[in-house]
């Protein structure tokens, strides 16, 4: 994420609405969100409710067929989507908030604080986050959505911290910060009142990436059997599918569609982010 021209919020939103990538991304995301909200209304079955028929291919009654345990794959998918979205939102939010706090502090205060925080950030950037999450999650008996979001949020903030620090450094040297200091404003008031508001549109973009990242980590953990101990999630469906050789037994409907939804969800978030990046950074924008 590189230096962005500071755009006025009004003008920024004006361009956002026109950007093709943002519109496409939003449309896809809205569709998936709708599936998560209204999806369950279209099936009488619960995610873990036996339906009496195992391994049936997709049919009117079971849009995504059933798996070896006779569970309806469509029901599992829509309910699983809800928990994945929730973890994505919570985990992403925690990571973004921590990242902004650390990036802002490191960027504005400089000196030893900056040195220490950036060392911490670089260390966590190098250590593979999923491997670290595995070690943490494995030791937790009861894993709920809250806990999973927390550990993801606590380990995936470095990307944000580094990007926000770069933004803060460029804003900190702007003369309006000196003007504020001459009016006796404290460091905190300058960070919150002068620097942070300039990063509003930037923070949205960072949150979108963290949202996607959190989903990816959550699904990864679930796939390894470290997902929520109760309930269903997209990762869990795929874990079961692989464990019980869905593919080899020809039950493609058990493994492919849930994964496709994850990919489309992440693709939509990524597209929105790229579109916003183009608006904020005119050099990347290719005028249609």
């Amino acid at each position: 994420m590189e230096q962005h021209t500071v755009s006025r919020t009004k003008e920024f939103l004006h361009h956002i609405r026109r950007n093709r990538k943002v519109k496409a991304g939003l449309a896809l995301f809205a569709a998936i969100l709708a599936l998560a909200i209204v999806g369950p209304l279209f099936t009488p079955y619960g995610p873990l409710e036996p339906t009496g028929e195992a391994g049936r291919p997709p049919s009117l009654e079971h849009p995504l067929g059933t798996n070896t345990f006779t569970y309806d794959v469509y029901a599992q998918t829509v309910y699983g989507l809800r928990s994945s979205l929730l973890i994505g939102f919570l985990g992403g939010l925690i990571a973004t908030v921590i990242g902004i706090l650390i990036g802002l502090a490191a960027g504005y205060m400089g000196g030893l604080v900056d040195e220490f925080l950036m060392m911490l950030t670089n260390i966590f950037l190098v250590i593979p986050t999923l491997a670290l999450l595995i070690v943490i999650a494995a030791y937790i008996e009861y894993r709920g959505i809250m806990i999973e979001s927390l550990i993801i949020g606590l380990t995936s903030w470095p990307w944000t911290a580094r990007a926000v620090r770069a933004q803060t450094l460029s804003l900190k040297n702007r003369e309006f910060v000196l003007v504020a200091r001459m009016s006796g404003a404290s460091g905190l008031r300058i960070m919150v009142g002068e620097i942070l508001p300039n990063m509003f549109s930037y923070a949205i973009m960072v949150f979108i990436l963290q949202f996607g990242g959190a989903i990816l980590y959550a699904v990864g953990l679930d796939f390894l059997g470290l997902g929520p101990t109760k309930g269903i999630s997209l990762g869990l469906i795929l874990q079961q599918a692989v464990l019980w050789n869905a593919i080899q037994l020809g039950m493609w409907w058990w493994a492919i569609p849930p994964g496709l939804i994850i990919a489309l969800l992440l693709a939509s978030l990524y597209t929105i982010n790229t579109g916003m990046d183009e608006v904020l950074n005119p050099r990347l924008r290719r005028l249609e």
């Binding site: 500071v6 006025r8 919020t9 702007r174 003369e175 309006f176 000196l178 003007v179 504020a180 200091r181 001459m182 009016s183 006796g184 404003a185 002068e194 508001p197 300039n198 509003f200």
Partner: protein
């Protein structure tokens, strides 16, 4: 209305041997940006701090405004060392000393409307007058600098011109009713045709309100137009200082002469070709002796040692050529 515990003395501001060394680059190689600079400023005067890029003039401005701590030396404002002020005294300092900067668009936070900074200054600095109507005072300050509040209030910085924003900066500084204004290249980013109006405002502040102003810049003609005294800087050291007519009309230091030869004037063209200096100069930072020696046409053996700041009448010059004529 006296504020704080400032004692009255002839020189409102004095720099004594102020030095600033920066660690640069990835390896922290030391660079001496300001090298033992001393000068004094009498109340009600405009002093021009003149120098080219890399002369340290902006660094000095930032040290006076307490943004950068000097590595050595002291800055005395009305008898007190600026960098030994504590707590409440710092706020009192900013009630007396305000600054305006070079880039109008960078001096205003693009997210807030332009009066945000004026309100901020009013609330924290103008403590003497608590019972006032904020908007009224702000409108007055705007009119004071020749702005029509109607077409400025409530606007965002990007909706105004550089000239309008710079006038707003002066208005903001005036809200604290300061005694000293540090103007860091206030007009260099404005169009030539609007610079003079800004300078007129500064001159009026000096004449009508005995405001003391340090004007930092590189344009000699602009400096001559409104300054009383001038300090010429080169690579962090004072080359020459004194009354504006002495220094800019009858310069003594070779560097000041070189500057005056190079300044393009609309009434006469350059006669002889000055020729290109060796472009491959990387001045050895820590070299002893006069810093201008490598480029000085009048260099001689004495210049290997650092020249002292000699006093010739009311002028001061740092050059061995005048060592014997010290008065």
């Amino acid at each position: 209305m006296t504020r704080g515990v400032w004692n009255l003395c002839a020189n409102i501001l004095e720099l004594r041997g102020v030095t600033k060394v920066f660690k640069t680059g990835l390896t922290g190689k030391p660079v001496v940006a300001v090298d033992k600079v001393s000068f004094a400023l009498r109340e009600g005067e405009i002093l021009s701090l003149l120098g080219e890029s890399g002369s340290g003039k902006s660094t000095i401005a930032r040290m006076i405004l307490r943004f950068l701590k000097p590595t050595q030396g002291s800055i005395i404002y009305r008898g007190k060392d600026v960098w030994r002020l504590q707590g409440r005294e710092v706020l009192e300092y900013y009630q007396e000393v305000q600054g305006i900067f070079q880039d109008p668009y960078s001096s205003f936070n693009p997210i807030h409307r332009v009066e945000h900074h004026l309100k901020q200054a009013l609330r924290s600095l103008a403590d003497g007058k608590k019972n006032f109507d904020e908007d009224n005072v702000i409108r007055e300050a705007m009119e004071r600098v020749g702005l029509n509040p109607q077409n400025v209030m409530g606007k965002y910085p990007h909706e105004l011109s550089g000239g309008q924003l710079q006038r707003l900066s002066i208005a903001r500084a005036l809200l604290a009713r300061p005694r000293l204004l540090v103007a860091d290249e206030p007009v260099s980013m404005l169009d030539a045709s609007t610079r003079v109006d800004l300078l007129n405002i500064l001159a009026e502040l000096r004449d009508e309100e005995r405001m003391t102003i340090i004007l930092i810049g590189h344009d000699l003609s602009l400096a001559y137009y409104i300054s009383d005294t001038v300090v010429v800087l080169y690579r962090g050291s004072v080359m020459e200082s004194g009354h504006v007519d002495e220094v800019l009309m009858r310069p003594k230091h070779p560097y000041t002469r070189l500057l005056l030869d190079s300044v393009p004037q609309l009434d006469k063209k350059w006669e002889h070709r000055m020729g290109l200096e060796n472009g491959d100069q990387d001045y050895d930072e820590l070299s002893k002796g006069c810093k201008f020696a490598p480029r000085c046409p009048k260099r001689f053996d004495k210049c290997e040692e650092t020249p002292p700041l000699l006093t010739l009448g009311s002028r001061r010059v740092s050059c061995w050529l005048y060592a014997d004529r010290q008065s």
